[in-house]
Amino acid sequence: MHDRGSPASSSQLSFATIHDQVLGPRCASCHGNSGGFTCGCYADVLKKMPQIQNEVSSDLMPLGAPLSPRQKKMLLDWISEGAPEFGDKPTPPPPMLLPAFASIHDLVLVPYCIACHSPGNPGKRVPLNTLDDLLNSPLGIVLPGNPDESDLVIAVRRTDKKRMPPPNSGVQSLSSDQISVIVNWISNGAKEY
């Protein structure tokens, strides 16, 4: 493992990249200023590295919803490369959100929703992890062809304190572009691919 601030070997991601694409969106809601360590602090992350590696590898963390395959690979590759603070590998562009369930699952539901809406968590009665969860809920979470009646769209469009994700969750609201993709996906039948 590199000492803090030491030059990185070539083709390594930096801590800033890992923070922006993995730790910030997926860990900061609990490990922002509490939860045992601050995921925005490189020294804190180094101290907890074995635990992070173990718990992420075995999908124990993040609680309720593991990292997407892409995020998990990024983080574990970075750790296996010595977890450098600085790297010279170009930051990979974030994947583009597409109107397909797999894309919406990985880029919206996992980072924004599933930490609560999964078994054992506060939103356990409204699970959002599978396409079946969305299509077959009594609450009409996703009604193919009808985004305006779909609870998923109604909830993320709200701007008051009832919006999803809730303002007090520490998770930011969806962007209008993200909502547009979800609306487009539902309008076109809410297909898996």
């Binding site: 009665r125 409204v126 009594p138 609450l139 009409g140 305006d148 009646e149 609870d151 109604i154 909830a155 469009r157 709200r158 008051d160 304190k161 009832k162």
Partner: protein
Amino acid sequence: MKFIGLAAIAMCLGMAPASYAMNNSTAAHYAIHAMEKLVGQGKLEEAFQTAFQNMTVQADANTPTFTVVLRQIPGVDKTARAVELTMNILGQMTSYTLVDGAIANNPPIWPDADAHELGEDAMHYLLDNVETHPELVPFDKDMAGLTLSQSSMVKDGMVMAVAEITSSSSKDTLRIVEDTSGVVQSAAIVNP
């Protein structure tokens, strides 16, 4: 056609999928969510959440459906704005009717969770605990209503909420005290 017929018979016999098996409390719980959705769509005014006071639930075994009425705090003329929801045995709202009434008069100001969330959290307590506390079964299976009010108890300077759940098969009342965030502080079955 044959499938539709079988499905209809299955529904009439109450053979809902296990995960959606309906009784009064689950229907009431889904109705709370349905009301929130209607507010989110702008079909009902926000006061159904902020000035929510009580709900009643009634099963119609013949249809089979559940009728859930959610009411706001009454107005100065003692009438209350309400919404009547019909829920099917899958927990889906199939219709809603607005019942006119006066604007809620002086509803309590809840600083954290609103009145509707406090009612929902009380329902969660019931649904979460009924499997391990058989004494809650009458309130789950035969829930008749829920009324939310301000408790006489205070936590951190905040007046707590109390939700009272009644049952058509018991004279007792399930009394659930919550803090202003909706975290349950105590629950007790109270004899009349």
